[in-house]
Symmetry: D3
Subunit: 227 residues, 6 copies
Amino acid sequence: MAGTVVRGITRADRDVTDTFAELGVATAHEAQGRTGLLAPYLNPIYAGASISGTAVTVSVPPGDNWMIHVAVEQCAEGDILVVAPTSRCDDGYFGELLATALAAHGVRGLVIEAGCRDVRELTRMGFPVWSRCVSAAGTVKETLGDVNLPLVCGGQLITPGDVIVADDDGVVVVPRLSAPAVLEASRARAAKEEASRQRYAAGEVSLDVSSMRERLAEKGLRYMDAS
Amino acid sequence: MAGTVVRGITRADRDVTDTFAELGVATAHEAQGRTGLLAPYLNPIYAGASISGTAVTVSVPPGDNWMIHVAVEQCAEGDILVVAPTSRCDDGYFGELLATALAAHGVRGLVIEAGCRDVRELTRMGFPVWSRCVSAAGTVKETLGDVNLPLVCGGQLITPGDVIVADDDGVVVVPRLSAPAVLEASRARAAKEEASRQRYAAGEVSLDVSSMRERLAEKGLRYMDAS
Amino acid sequence: MAGTVVRGITRADRDVTDTFAELGVATAHEAQGRTGLLAPYLNPIYAGASISGTAVTVSVPPGDNWMIHVAVEQCAEGDILVVAPTSRCDDGYFGELLATALAAHGVRGLVIEAGCRDVRELTRMGFPVWSRCVSAAGTVKETLGDVNLPLVCGGQLITPGDVIVADDDGVVVVPRLSAPAVLEASRARAAKEEASRQRYAAGEVSLDVSSMRERLAEKGLRYMDAS
Amino acid sequence: MAGTVVRGITRADRDVTDTFAELGVATAHEAQGRTGLLAPYLNPIYAGASISGTAVTVSVPPGDNWMIHVAVEQCAEGDILVVAPTSRCDDGYFGELLATALAAHGVRGLVIEAGCRDVRELTRMGFPVWSRCVSAAGTVKETLGDVNLPLVCGGQLITPGDVIVADDDGVVVVPRLSAPAVLEASRARAAKEEASRQRYAAGEVSLDVSSMRERLAEKGLRYMDAS
Amino acid sequence: MAGTVVRGITRADRDVTDTFAELGVATAHEAQGRTGLLAPYLNPIYAGASISGTAVTVSVPPGDNWMIHVAVEQCAEGDILVVAPTSRCDDGYFGELLATALAAHGVRGLVIEAGCRDVRELTRMGFPVWSRCVSAAGTVKETLGDVNLPLVCGGQLITPGDVIVADDDGVVVVPRLSAPAVLEASRARAAKEEASRQRYAAGEVSLDVSSMRERLAEKGLRYMDAS
Amino acid sequence: MAGTVVRGITRADRDVTDTFAELGVATAHEAQGRTGLLAPYLNPIYAGASISGTAVTVSVPPGDNWMIHVAVEQCAEGDILVVAPTSRCDDGYFGELLATALAAHGVRGLVIEAGCRDVRELTRMGFPVWSRCVSAAGTVKETLGDVNLPLVCGGQLITPGDVIVADDDGVVVVPRLSAPAVLEASRARAAKEEASRQRYAAGEVSLDVSSMRERLAEKGLRYMDAS
């Protein structure tokens, strides 16, 4: 039965967590072996936000946002709230009042596999949200869910305290324990990409930069001229 | 059989109607008992528009926008055109020419459960549209529909003359006769939210502000510490 | 079997091709008899881009972007890359590194019936993309596809060298051989619309401007007054 | 505010209502001027059922089926229950226990814009359901809705007491007051179709049977031989 | 401009065409290099049908089935009608009357990227249809389309006279000229699969039957025991 | 990096596992507090199958079914294969040859968040599959995935060895360790439902059987007579 709130979760290291924002979602996803990416139907409500933080998770019934209210006081500076309904729901679970409360507790943003409202006010506040849709549909406060139990959001398992990275490309989760290694791999990847970028900008092609021609030929690639 | 145009509809009071824009979609939806919200797949073509007005309704066949042309002269200052196809259609029924004509008649915007085109020009004109999608697909002018009969748009019944409110959060309909009462309730709600906002900004949580703790405990909410 | 790269395709005339950008997608689509429009689920990753160019086509397996790398050196100044997976895939086949390489070869943008990533960087670079979704999901380089064979993208047949026009309203293909005639028809349509626009702005309605009233009456349109 | 149950609704005449089942959905929809058809995402859970009856309507919150329980005793012999959630929900609001209760009250089937479960048992019982999906997801009993107020289901306005017709082709609503006229028109259409069927079976084509050739030519239809 | 009917198309050889039905969609698709498969949203209206035939193509406007009537007399024994709307439409373009007419001309079935109605009657007649959805929504007869021009249906280019194969797994197109070679390859594949089937039934695994272990190891596959 | 096969997983007790099939998905889902239900887009390819078994999990890349081949020899009598792609894919990963191999190892069925083919043969074999869609689209064997690591399928976390129950209502997972308790609760629920069923069949309503009237009145339910 739902109705559990776990207090005092262990969070990923703050320094590690905070560095992911500048590296971005695509790099973190690639650096951990192309894993952890939430489904692409979770989109930012405004362009340009880029955050990383530690997950506080909330499981909610369809059309009922009570547990988000319960979750606020479990949040700490540097957290990102991750909310998933127990079955598909597009309702507007979240708006500027909850954002005001979360921001006062240091929360950096919200990832929700449901709807969000007050888009204009959230944009003005600079409180970023990644949601399934925008909807003003109101919710009730009748049924319990859970705070800080592991949950599935956007097709990925999120354990409280994991690192969440979100930007214009979507959302990725990095498990707490592997975060330092993924951070290091992300930096290595970013450095390598910078080198490639310069060669590409100079007109070189990846077939040469990454030595793909031989393997393509082995696979049977054939060139022909247009008639 | 389709093919009716109703002239001289009774519109909601102008003062009441116009005040809704600043209160917004979410507030009006909540204030009328969480009713009247159109489906969240109706999205604004550009961010930041916020309008309210009286509904002129147009029922159109799939792929045929003739009746929108018929509807133009039935519009008056302060109206919002509401268009729904008789079966799902994504075509671009509407573009800048029709917007120019509507704007010349004082129409404030369009809600259409279909496609819209000329997004750049509409944005430049400041003529807001809430649509199912953006599509340049052209339409024909062969088959009749109806103007100013009640219709269903985005899953809601819209009666001509009702109040339509639309902003970044979507679209809501407020029935003409209940509009004054809903306006009053909306203002009360906005005032109450302002009070809550200040307490949340100061770090209070809704569990206390709204006295939820006792009822949560009765429902069985249990707190436990992470191991 | 896949694995063909066609070199030296014949492209639509540059002057004809380049003029389409200012005329726009809706006009070109209408001017060629309401044909050629790609499906409305292909959306621009940022607003305001408007391009035209010649198609270089790439057919890719699901989750494998190898052939986009192969395609880069087949591109020339003024091309637009058109990519379609052999079955539905939302992965992020394309990002800023490939964009850097394509831009260095004079490519003006990308149309892809799949996902795209690095949205912020692509926006900053001014490299426009029309895609099915935004997704950071990484892809492999294991399986061949084809470059510059005809393919279906967004429900339309695209032959290499065809004209592609893309703006905020979506994407349209104009076959290479008919491009000059479509261009002429597009200009005629734009001129005619300008005349209509002025009459609409002055308050005239299309029922009169386009003499629709008689035919509407023949179809049985009937006016009645609200009771 | 939700929470109303209307008793003693006026139902369409029983003889008229019951005759629609054999005429079927497509015929009734055509006979009333191609109106009243519910959206095609409402599908039967098993093939071959064909019913007509009078609507008892239930508006339910997302994830909450309490009001269906409330509705049972408002049902009478020959009714069809029509259920719509106030926002999109795929949960399994309905199963064999409720079907047993409804069947005991003479209800002939269910139309629900949400999920349904116990498909095997419902099939065995011969209690047909047209639903958005099949889902075992359980629902709560916490929040009120309405019984026998007009509602929108599948994009159509349903007034309690209207005629509902449902078969393998979907669901159509026929307003109570127009039901006798629609029945007569349906019979006329069925008779006319029988005549056409025989001519088609003999190899005649509708171009001749319905004299379409001249009008097609006027529209510009042109025949050419394959080269 | 639409409005062309091409007569006297060249059809794939009858013997070759008719043999595909027993080989099935999956085998033909694989045998031609995993190409030609129509999108999986085209589903049979009843289970168990398996047909092959030559394509007669019909391009129709949204909500307008006039051209299907035009197409009937262009059909010959052994054809399959392939219909695609110029933009997405779910209407019920096709029912038992048209099926009666087509069957009288020897047509074996219909593939339509839109809706179909009269499911019960079509099932009884044994006239199979693969459609996007079932819908009773009626259509008009006002606007021209084309018969026997190449079109895109379910994401594949269909040229009139091509081989269409359809069964419970969906629909595949085999181009007319390559049909004999694909037929031969299909038979070879079916024979090879029969051999594998017997080994699998005896408990062997494909890792051995197809000698995959070495290549898996090279790719880095590693086995570990559950702790 | 993907590429792990875990051998010798611990499976839920066979007696407990096998008993779930007769209790069914809805009962198991309710009995474990309305948890564990996979998304309703996973549907059976034929009606009437009802199975329970222990999960063997396979994570596969989009368009690549190699790891299903790897998984076969990890299966044992009484298992159910659970397959999820790392990003959305509708391809036909699975058909009768793999089913033959799995059946020879005692596997009872397949749950796959992707496509399945050879529907007719699988139906004939009596090898049930719950899939996202039916598709004949072929897949490659180039990229590794994982066997018997926990994965998310249909929005639920599946740990190898968990109990899977699947029938016409969908699929539910019961965690291995809680399976005995859930079984007991399922039986209790089934017994209770049987008692209710008899009362409902006799015409009683749940408002009385479950004593709901008082609480409904407290919530504000009001009865009114139709005017």
